[in-house]
């Protein structure tokens, strides 16, 4: 995983991406529209963020059909879970170090 100078995961620098990872951390699988409910951004914007996370292999995509309509579901990969945990732990460490 690519890290920033302070040890945080580079792919999660953008808050929307961090938000997507947070939502997928507690949901097994969500489709695009359910995911969209949690963010105040447009379809194209969200799709771009998802693509970026997918490229890093932090999230996986499963394409199915509901009737004739394509339905894309997103889930967190093992690598994504590791990166997410690392990110959260690093954030906590940084704050603890600054406080103490």
């Amino acid at each position: 995983m690519k890290l920033l100078i302070d040890g945080l995961v580079k792919a999660f620098e953008h808050r929307t991406r961090l938000g997507i990872m947070s939502v997928l951390a507690v949901n097994d699988m969500l489709d695009f529209n359910s995911l969209k409910d949690y963010f105040d951004i447009g379809d194209g914007n969200l799709a771009n963020h998802l693509k970026a996370l997918e490229k890093e292999e932090y999230i996986g995509v499963k394409k199915t059909f509901i009737g004739k309509k394509p339905n894309t579901k997103y889930f967190m990969t093992k690598a994504g879970k590791r990166a997410f945990d690392h990110h959260l732990k690093t954030l906590e460490l940084i704050l603890k170090a600054r406080k103490g």
Binding site: L18, V23, A25, V26, N27, D37, Y38, D40, L91
Partner: protein
């Protein structure tokens, strides 16, 4: 390097996103109070007006027809209470969701409804069976028992206080099954009084 404020906000964002997407937090406390009032009114009507207060498990004085005489209005009152309570909960919760700038029918709502539906449908079918077999005394406590199970089951997906609400209703339901003569009283306490107290608590804790 980011500022300390940014780090704190990052963590806050993660926590809030995880909570918002895993728990249904638009449940309205006021809807609980209203449901309690409907239930108390319903229990009062069936007791005072229709003199419904079964004191034994089974009644088998029904030579023809499926229902014992006089039971039909009681069933209508019960269904009325149910429809009013659910309707109020849906309307007030969707208002609250709107205020929180969320969609009412999102993935957390679906999950909550699904996890409540399984015990509720099972309980509903059991009540129909009890009704058909003449076990009138068990009906009110059984609705309470299965409602409690549904709440307990769904509490993972909403406010954690719902779990204790479920447990209280399970205990009251079982009590009513054993002391059949107090079945309606338990029902009025569980659906009425407990809902009102719970609704007031939730309203003051989360909605002010």
């Amino acid at each position: 390097m980011k500022e300390e404020q940014d780090y704190i906000q990052d963590i806050a964002e993660m926590r809030s996103m995880m909570e918002r997407s895993s728990r249904f937090l638009s449940l309205s406390g006021f809807a609980g109070i209203m449901a309690g009032i409907y239930a108390l009114a319903g229990a009062f009507i069936v007791y005072k007006v229709f003199h419904f207060n079964p004191d034994q498990l089974a009644y088998d004085s029904q030579p023809e027809g499926l229902l014992p005489a006089g039971l039909l209005p009681v069933i209508f009152v019960a269904l009325g209470v149910l429809v009013l309570a659910i309707g109020t909960a849906v309307i007030l919760s969707s208002k609250k969701a709107h205020k929180r700038r969320e969609k009412f029918w999102n993935s957390t709502t679906k999950r909550l409804v699904y996890h409540m539906a399984v015990p509720l449908v099972a309980g509903g079918l059991l009540v129909l069976i009890l009704l058909a077999k003449g076990f009138i005394g068990l009906i009110a406590p059984c609705t309470l028992l299965f409602y409690g199970l549904a709440l307990y089951n769904a509490s993972k997906f909403t406010y954690e206080e719902v779990k204790s609400l479920g447990l209280i209703n399970i205990v009251l339901g079982l009590t009513g099954c054993y002391f059949v003569q107090y079945g309606l009283l338990c029902w009025a306490i569980g659906f009425g009084l407990v809902h009102i107290i719970y609704g007031i608590y939730m309203h003051y804790r989360y909605e002010r």
